[in-house]
């Protein structure tokens, strides 16, 4: 197990060394996806300020290389569960930017009909079975979904497997422990990926975790683990793909830790008073986007024109997404009770505030 304990010093650019063997088109595609996520979320942040988006809104900004690398490791047949910091995953997994933006706008064309919002991207089509808002809540559920995979097919290279993303702070909660233990004793095809962005909301990994090298926590379940530079999109993909392959073929769970950064506040409204200026500086230096852009330029895979093109394409896509979301209808309060229950039964309560629940003759 490679122990890439310190991935801070060199950052994304140096990590690029591992990109030499990749086809240019593949790398460009990754870069394109990273730019799309960044652009999408910058706009989302803007739309939040304009009150087009409400509630909480957590961004992947700074984590794009991790997100894209992880998603590149999944096959279409694989399943994904994430936490509430889920826009990038939704986009990379193949949800339409328009439908994702519409979800943020709370429109009926949103991926969850506007009922979920930012934290709750979900689309059975692309097998992303949800962004979840309660810290750790996705882990038992994802573990059970992985259990279900063992009921419907044999292990093998073509088997379905499952990825469950979580944050560093989430390794301290009970659900993490119970889930990993179950996955271990039941030999489940699941890869748990800790996106270690160094912070809970404002709490550092060191302050929160007795063992701050989080991938080592798999040892409590004899579960293998590894740490990877989250700014190195290819390294992330390789590590995740290897773990997914193992999950498919051997039905062994894995604990992968991607060392990443959170460029912005915990959510778009977080003033980050707790963040020292150095740590903000450090985070900015670790921004995977300029690093990858520079590397691609240096390698001649990209030129300035093409780079601009990628950015303006992303702008266009996001503009279209906003237009789509903007022009989409609100969900209709008359449909409020449509998704209370999957199986209708007698006497289900369908009354609005103040309406009587039972008639007096």
């Amino acid at each position: 197990m490679a122990d890439t304990t310190d991935t801070t010093a060199d950052g994304g650019a140096a990590a690029g060394a591992s990109w030499d063997n990749e086809q240019s088109e593949v790398l460009l595609d990754y870069y394109r996806q990273m730019v799309l996520i960044r652009t999408f979320e910058q706009t989302a942040s803007e739309m939040y300020k304009r009150a087009k988006i409400g509630g909480y809104c957590h961004l992947n900004s700074g984590e794009e290389a991790t997100v894209v690398g992880l998603m590149a490791a999944l096959e279409r047949r694989d399943y994904l569960f994430t936490n509430y910091r889920d826009h990038g995953y939704a986009l990379c997994r193949g949800m339409e930017p328009g439908a994702v933006m519409a979800e943020l706008f709370g429109k009926s064309t949103g991926v969850a009909r506007g009922l979920g919002g930012s934290m709750h991207m979900f689309d059975t089509e692309v097998r992303m079975l949800g962004g979840y808002g309660v810290v750790g809540g996705q882990l038992p559920v994802a573990t059970g979904a992985a259990l279900a995979l063992t009921y419907r097919g044999e292990a093998g290279t073509e088997a379905e497997a499952l990825m469950c993303q979580l944050g560093d702070g989430t390794t301290n909660i009970g659900a993490f422990h119970e889930s990993l233990n179950l996955a271990a004793i039941w030999d489940l095809p699941i890869v748990y990926v800790i996106v270690n962005n160094r912070l809970g909301m404002g709490t550092s990994v060191e302050a929160a975790s007795g063992e701050p090298e989080l991938y080592k926590r798999g040892a409590s379940y004899r579960m293998e683990g590894d740490r990877v530079d989250g700014n190195d999109v290819v390294a992330v993909r390789e590590a995740a793909a290897a773990a997914m392959h193992r999950a498919r073929t051997e039905r062994k769970p894995f604990l992968l830790e991607a060392m990443s950064y959170r460029l912005k506040g915990h959510s778009v409204v977080d003033p980050e008073r707790y963040r020292s200026s150095e740590s903000s500086e450090e985070a900015k230096e670790s921004d995977p986007l300029p690093a990858m852009r520079d590397w691609l330029l240096a390698q001649g895979v990209l030129d300035e024109d093409k780079a601009d093109q990628i950015e303006s394409d992303a702008d266009q896509q996001v503009d279209d997404a906003v237009s789509f979301a903007d022009s989409s209808p609100d969900p209709d309060p008359a449909d409020l009770f449509d998704y209370s229950y999957a199986t209708d039964v007698a006497n289900a309560p369908h009354t609005l505030p103040g309406e009587p629940v039972v008639e007096m003759p």
Binding site: V141, T143, L147, Y151, R152, Y339, T343, N347
Partner: protein, 330 residues
């Protein structure tokens, strides 16, 4: 009709559903080798093997959550939580996940699962092992909550719960497992959301569920000998609640008492009383009374436990008081 125990009815039903649908599987602590803490799953591991009858470590949050995830993928897990008291550990999974996933994600994925769990006091198990927390579940949209009182309903409602596409909390009761009753052979599906008239009567309505319903029927039978005609409404389903049946009965009898095993304040009886207020106020001869548990952590010592829990005597007394207050006895 065969007369079997509540326990046997559950065991038979689990067997039948495991046989009928291979997507059904059982999951929980000590349900396999140990055959269940209360032996509800006896024999099933041998019959169906460890994939269909899955023993888990002590990890209520983990295995209940796992059942939820499995249900999202199309399986139909029936989870056993050893007693309702331990369900507190799985509460986030039940309320923030099982109950939310269908609606919150816009109706994309149902969560067809059952959580079987017994509640109840009276066994001297002490304050942390004797609770009746059903009102908590009954309060939560997205869940369905049933609480059968007879072996026949145990069968019919468990069958319905397993076949339902929503998460169903299936409330058993420690003191009902050995009770007996007639249970029809063959497939029986009891509609979720409908109360039953467990006994017809004309003078007063007693509303109850689970163990309390058994007590209510017994009490009603006794009082019949004295010429008092008690109607017993067995709620069976706490969510959805069949307000119509409750109110119709009370409109007929003009008097009502709720018998419940949980604590009085904010218990199930509060909702029943409020429901009668809203649906039968004009017909009431006297305010609805509640007979419920004393509001203490349930003590271990038998005389203390007995004092704290409602019983037939308490119910009888309140029925008489109700009848007296409304000049039933002349």
């Amino acid at each position: 009709m065969p007369v079997i125990t509540y326990r046997q009815a559950l065991n038979d039903t689990l067997r039948a559903e495991l046989t009928r649908d291979e997507n059904v599987f059982l999951i929980g602590e000590e349900i396999g080798q140990f055959e269940g803490s209360y032996k509800i799953t006896a024999g099933l591991l041998d019959e169906f093997g460890p994939t269909r009858v899955r023993d888990t470590p002590i990890a209520e949050e983990g295995f209940v959550g796992a059942a939820i995830g499995a249900a999202m993928m199309g399986l139909r897990p029936v989870a056993e939580i050893m007693t309702i008291n331990f369900s507190l550990i799985a509460m986030d999974q039940i309320v923030n996940h099982a109950a939310k996933i269908y609606g919150m994600f816009g109706g994309q994925t149902p969560v067809p699962m059952v959580i079987r769990t017994p509640g109840g006091g009276g066994q001297q198990l002490g304050a942390t092992h004797s609770q009746n927390l059903e009102v908590w579940y009954a309060h939560v949209p997205g869940l369905k909550v049933v609480a059968p009182s007879t072996p026949a309903d145990a069968k019919g409602l468990l069958t319905a719960a397993i076949r339902d596409d929503d998460p169903v909390i299936f409330l058993e009761n420690l003191s009902l497992y050995n009770t007996k009753g007639e249970v029809p052979d063959g497939e029986q599906v009891t509609e979720i959301g409908k109360a039953a008239i467990a006994k017809e009567g004309t003078d007063i309505t007693v509303i109850a569920y689970s163990r309390a319903s058994v007590i209510a029927v017994e009490t009603a039978r006794k009082l019949e000998e004295e010429g008092i005609s008690v109607e017993v409404v067995d709620l069976r389903s706490l969510r959805p609640l069949d307000r119509q049946t409750v109110c119709e009965s009370v409109r007929k009898t003009s008097r009502a008492v709720v018998l419940e095993d949980d604590w009085l304040s904010y218990g199930v009886g509060a909702e029943i009383s409020a429901t009668v207020m809203e649906g039968a106020f004009d017909y009431l001869d006297a305010p609805v009374r509640r007979v419920a548990a004393a509001e203490v952590p349930l003590p271990y010592a038998k005389p203390m436990e007995t004092a704290a829990l409602p019983d037939a005597q308490d119910l009888t007394k309140v029925i008489r008081e109700q009848l007296e207050a409304t000049s039933f006895f002349r």
